[in-house]
Symmetry: none
Subunit: 212 residues, 4 copies
DNA sequence: CATGAATGAGAATTCATTCAT
DNA sequence: TATGAATGAATTCTCATTCAT
């Protein structure tokens, strides 16, 4: 009766997550059209039937994966919010946030996901929009709220917190991310390079936005 | 030999460019995998044989198109170089450059091309790299040279002109371009919004890089 | 053995009839090839194994259903036989029979069954033959016996009772049934229309077959 | 230059009609779902591509065949119309029409087509309706016009020519056609049997509709 | 050279049926 | 006994590329 040990997921759930894992890997590496349901079943080591029983069709599987991939955005948002909430050394803490931001965003998985969504924005406009809102936009919005706080505390001087958040984010992220978008298989940036992007971005940001 | 009247391109060359035009349109709109050689031949109104006579295979045709699409980058680079070369009002001329930059880069064709290259960066790494060098990187490099000049003339204060060029470019471009990447079919930005991105980007840039 | 309470069918028999019910519905609506064993199991709310335990395979299940569907033909035959057996007003009672006949045959279930058998006559010739004998032919034969009786009583004048029965039946039924065969989803006939088919059919029949 | 001999159809048209022929045969024998595009291509001895180039998809091919099959209904209608137009011996000419009618309708191809449309009435309601109008209904309507004429000439006595046409048609056709619907592979009726159906049908019809 | 056809494979999806738990 | 999974093939349709005329 107590046929399933409670710490286990059960055969079915295990298969389901094997499929999700396999499909994630394949979609991220080969794109939507470059991935076949046959491959997914093979990599997940399940039958095609099992894939279709769990996910209806390829589009739905794709959608589930994309939206599931944004699950952990909240954690990241919380971390940066906390770091800036009661800062006593703005330059230092913006630097910390910047390094964390860039480190998060430069992860291969995140870059692949971004590439994938951009590639499929035409075919899956709603999915692209949903991803955009849940991941990059959500982060910018949280950052804007932090900056507004800092302005209220007299630490920053700004008219438009959302614009400032965009400036901050892209001063830090754009150069490595843009390069990465076009160079999937190249050597990644070194930690030192990334730190430099972070620090220089913070420098420019503060030059423009620090209260005199 | 003298069988072609000189003012004409010749039947053959005309067909070749019909194919290029058709394929460009289709690749940009539907992606590499979403475009079939049948469609290309149909839209170009030539036979499939003619396509294969001119381009060996689909990959080569794709490559020719992508690299051909960077032909006019030089003009743009010349324009911004000229605008900054002997500036007498730095803020005004940086603003002009910024507006021109953003206007160029936000064109549907440019965005589609960018999306396409990002989508295919995994499948065509060399092509993606080549595009990157010929288009965005070439522009940044030219800008860096301008900024170095301006620094030498005592108008800017910078250690790393290439970094400064990146900061300038992305302060202006990132926000609209990032949004556009994920929202292929949405309303484009208005001219006023784009100008604001340009002006605010210049403001931040100068706060950090103008010689006191 | 005494393991089943007598007033119940038993789990097993209940499942069996759930399967029959589900399969009947699906076969009638979607045809043989349009119905999958998966669907049948799902609609019957049993596992596929249970379906196969009870019915060997799809063909056998189909056959069981078709032949089972002729179970109530006897009742109808009895009714019309009784109505004509000791008639004292031939025109009235033929009219009653005609109305009953048409009402029976025009029922959606009957029409669907007919369509299904016609559709599958090539694939299941024995089944089609069996259905034909048990349903339409049996009715015609019974009618022919009645008509022979009426002839013996001097009420009808005929050489071939079976032919007369066919004439009667089709004078009444053909027009609505033929239309219904080709118009599955159209509005059914109204009761008034059906009565007119019955009455006019009887009129023509009596003009030819009533003893002067 | 005069590369195609005028009496020929041309390669392409020849292939097209090979496909139509093969598909007709297969659809009529095996039904819509029982026929695969692979089979059609194989029987027509063309590649699957050629099938798809000519017909878009299976549904369209099916529709083309069904509607094409009604092309020769007009000829039949003309023949029966002519036979009744200026009749001088009504019984004889109705008998001729009846025999012709039954001979036409009992042809294997016609029966198969009928079976096929009935089978697919659920999936292709518009097609079934169109077939119904172009073939059986058109004939009945023409017959009704003839009967109205005959009534006007004082040869028939009727209130509703359309009803009379239905009575005529089904008195003759129903018995053999109904049997044939359920007995695809059985021996067909003999000519003598068919003539008897025709003659007896005419007899009953005239008993009810001949002007006294 | 250009057209229609062919090739040969591969995609997504579904099915009837059987196995293992 | 019943459930989920597997099997293995079939179906519709598309594609890149190559022949033959």
């Amino acid at each position: 009766m107590a046929d399933e040990r409670p710490q286990e997921e059960g055969r079915s759930a295990r298969k389901r997550s094997a499929i999700l894992e396999a499909a994630t890997e394949l979609f991220l590496c080969n794109g939507y059209q470059g991935t076949s349901m046959d491959e997914i079943a093979a990599v997940a080591a399940v039958s095609k039937q099992t894939v279709y029983k769990n996910f209806t069709d390829k589009e739905q599987l794709f959608g589930d994966i994309i939206l599931g991939a944004t699950d952990r955005v909240g954690e990241f948002v919380d971390v940066i919010t906390a770091a800036l909430a009661e800062t006593e050394d703005l330059e230092r803490d913006l630097g910390l946030v910047a390094r964390r931001y860039i480190a998060t965003v430069i992860q291969p998985r995140v870059l692949q996901l971004r590439r994938l969504l951009i590639a499929e924005a035409g075919r899956f406009p709603d999915l692209a929009r949903a991803y955009y809102q849940r991941a990059p936009e959500r982060t910018i919005t949280a950052l804007a709220a932090c900056f507004q706080d800092l302005a209220d505390r007299g630490l920053l001087r700004l008219d438009d917190a959302h614009l400032a958040a965009n400036h901050f984010a892209w001063l830090i992220l754009s150069t490595p991310m843009d390069k990465a978008m076009f160079h999937e298989h190249d050597e990644p940036f070194t930690a030192a390079e990334l730190e430099r992007f972070a620090d220089e971005g913070v420098r420019v940001f503060l030059a423009a936005y620090r209260r005199a």
